[in-house]
Structure formats: structure tokens, C-alpha cells
Amino acid sequence: MAAEYTLSQLPNRSRRTIIALGLEGSANKLGVGIVRHTLQTPLDQHQNADNTRVANTVPIQVLAEAISRQQVEVLANIRHTYITPPGQGFLPKDTAVHHRQHILPLISQALAEAQVTPADIDAICFTKGPGMGGPLVSVAMVARTLALLWNRPLVGVNHCIGHIEMGRQITGATNPVVLYVSGGNTQVIAYAQNRYRIFGEALDIAVGNCLDRFARIINLPNDPSPGYNIEQYAKRGKQLIELPYTVKGMDVSFSGILSYIQTIAKVRFGSPDRATIAGCNFVEELPTDLTPEDLCFSLQETVFAMLVEITERAMAHIGSQEVLVVGGVGCNLRLQEMMGEMARQRQAKVFATDERFCIDNGIMIAHAGALAYQTGFTTPLKDSTVTQRFRTDDVTPLAVPTSNQVRRGSTKKHVTKPYRGGSSNDHIVAKLRKLSATKRDLVVAVSK
């Protein structure tokens, strides 16, 4: 396979600029974004090495180089969040209703803010997955209808790749270890051999899910988000209690921590049911003046220390000096601070974004979709389905392709295994596990 592209394979080859609309609705945030990508060196002005004629093919490196140096402008990035009453989570069906109610006014508003008309839009990008089925399909239905109505191509985007690409774009991180932490996902990711590989991940519930559900137990409001309110409570926490610390190789587990701390909260501050009372003897041994603030503080310190540990190990594995934190939990300043402390000890740098780009948004879908579109990728209508499970390493990106494969967003299953604690590196994992005990003390000490 030749490592070059025929110009006719690429969209709008005569144009320097593309504008993409991005629609995101995989969880309780509904986001609409409009992005403009402007190539600084138009591809149709690329010349052959001998300078004799304008080439009609583009070597892949030239395409990658042009895309990586292009100008990216956020024309609009608006969000509407489905906020449930305190003590309640968001159910897929109700979330889908919310998205269907708000998506059209949101798109109109985004077009107005960006000062573009539908005729200016080159591609319509939507979240293909992962996420909740009902909300995803509601948004995809709008994407399909607009694509047919405006006669524009669809680009199905992997939600996780959207977070990573937007984070890289905003922060300028080149080859970071990515910690993607949100209500639905917890992954440590690094780019290796043409793909974002998952080095470690949550084995059960996501870290954000753990925090959100604890917030429900102690009745914290979901406005603006449960995680934000836990963060505020944690700032007033004074006592650190020991919680189960569950790092398993490169992976983490949060469900045990959640049920442990839920038991404490129910016994001390709520009305425990019989099952809770049956297994609550350990609560008696805890300080009597324990407050909900102390629990929030202890929970954050423990789960963030776990995340910092596996992130650091991934950095050691691949020798990276950059950490990029993305996802809704990524805007937690305490997590950024702990990550910063770890990075300082390694002479590494932490990159993080604020809530506009960390929390689910439309612009990241527009941006990642536009990148894919620029390499010739589109999603045919018949393939514009959504999928609740869509692994980060199922996508072959990227903005900086290193071989002849630059197509993105493919949902094809690949047999390549991500680097995880398999048999080959068990001894490394074991060694690092020993180290991790001291690391944890360190991180906790820093917090005091």
C-alpha cells in the first residue's frame, strides 16, 4: 500500500478550511460545537520533490504535518445539562427526553453564535459511542436528518477519542499519557503503534460514578455536578480515614470503596437498612466526630491517589514526560494538584483543561470528527448506528499518523491487545506494586 493519498480522495481539496458541527449526548450533558480547521499550507499547493509540478497525490507525512500545524478555532461550544434532584441519578430514558427537547434550539443557538449557516458546514459529527443507548440514538437521529437535509457527510466519533484530541489541541501536549476520568470512563491511555492504547482502566464502575453515587448518599446537589460539590466539601474535610485502596496491576476498582464508604455514611448520617447494619461493626471504630466533609476528603484522596499511581506507572512504561488529564473528573483541582506533585518529582508536565473542554462537550466531537474527515474518513448512513460499548483502542487514528493508515473512527474489531498487566510484564507490575505503597503515603502526605 502506497503511503500517500490521492487528492481526490480527500474532501474539499481545493479549500483550506473546513467547518464541522459536533453533536454530543452520550450521558447527561448535551453539547453542540462548531469548529473551523484552517490548513496553513493548502494541500493542493503541495509540490513534488523536484518542484516541477503540483502533485496530485499527497504523501501521508505531508498530510499529517499539514493537519498537525493547522489553525483550529472554536466557533461555538454550548452545553445543556440534565440535572436531577439531589439523591437521584439520571436514567437513560429521561436523559434521552431531555436531549430531544433541547437539541434543536441548541443547534440553532450554536449556528447563530458561530455566525455560520448550514451551507457553511462541511461535515456533521456525532458521538457514536460509548455511552447510554437512548440518549446516543436520539442525537444520532438528528445528525442523520441534518446530513440528509443539508446533503453533508456524517462522521461518527468515538467519545473517548474526542476527549483526547480536544485535550491535546487545547493544551499543546504532544505525546502524553492520558488519564481519562469521567462518570462513565476511567482509562489510562497512551499512543503506541498507531492507536491510543488502554494501559489501565477501571474494572467495575468509573471513578466519576463512584463519586456521583456517594454524593447521592449524602444528598449533595447535582447542580452544577455532584463531583463539583464533593470537591467543595472535601476542601473542608479535616480527618483522613482509611478506605480500601484497590489498584490491581495497571487497573483500578472503585465499587468496593463505594460500598465501604456508603456503609459509613448510612450508619452515621442516614437511615441504614438491615443489610447495612449487619456489616457495619467497623464503623464503631471510626472517630465519633466524623463529618460528611471528612468522608468526601478521604474518598477523593484515596481514589485520586490510585489514579495518580497507575498514571505514573504508565509514564514509566513508555518513558513519557507528559500527562494529560481529560474527562469530567479531570476538572477537579485536587486531582490536578496531586497529578502535578507526581509530575514534579519526575520532572514531567501536567496538562489539563477547564470545564468547557473537560466536561462532555460538542466541540470535542466536532474537532475529532473534523480531523478524521480531513483524512478522508466519513461514516456512511447505513453505518451511522450508535454503540454503547466502543473501546478507545478500537479506533485507528490519528492526527499524527506514522504509517500509511490514517483512517479513523473505524469500528472494526482488531485482535491487537492493549498493554495491560498480562503474563509478560507480571514481574514489572509486582515490582511496581511494592513501590506503590510508599507512593501512596507520599501522595496522602502532600495533601495534608
Partner: protein, 95 residues
Amino acid sequence: MSSPKAAPHTLKLTVPFPDAESAQIAAKALAVDEDLNARLIQTRVEAVDSAVTVNFHAQDLRILRIATSSFFEMLTMVLNTLQTFAPRNATDTTS
């Protein structure tokens, strides 16, 4: 998998559209998703002139009700999208 003919419960809907073009768009957008439980229900969405026809073939009434109500939710979404962004409206709202 049983053939649609063998399904004991069927429902046929005909949804009128203002023109054949919008009926085509709606039918194409709605036909993409496959039935989640193809063993129990099969849905066929087609554009016929300026209408969208939908045929449900279901093994039991419960699944037919679920499929019908979720189809109406999606149909409403598509209709609202068409109404909001049909070319003449789009120029009005963004100029």
C-alpha cells in the same frame, strides 16, 4: 428466526409528509437502526410517495407496544428537525 409472515401481531402506520423529499429523508434516517430484538420484532420503514410507511411484525404485544412508542419518539425527533432546519427556515433563523 421466524419470517415476518409468521408473526402473530402486525401494525402498519402511514405518516403523511409535506413532500416526497422530506418523506425520503425521514425514512432513511429512521431505517438505519436495526431492531434490538430481531427475534421478537421486525420493523420496516419505507418512503412511499410523500408518506412514510412502517410495518411492525411482532411475536407478542408487549414488544410491539415498546417498538411503536420508541418509533414515535424518534419520528417526532426527525419531524421537529425537519421543521426547524428545512432550507427555508434555516435561512430565516441564521441570517
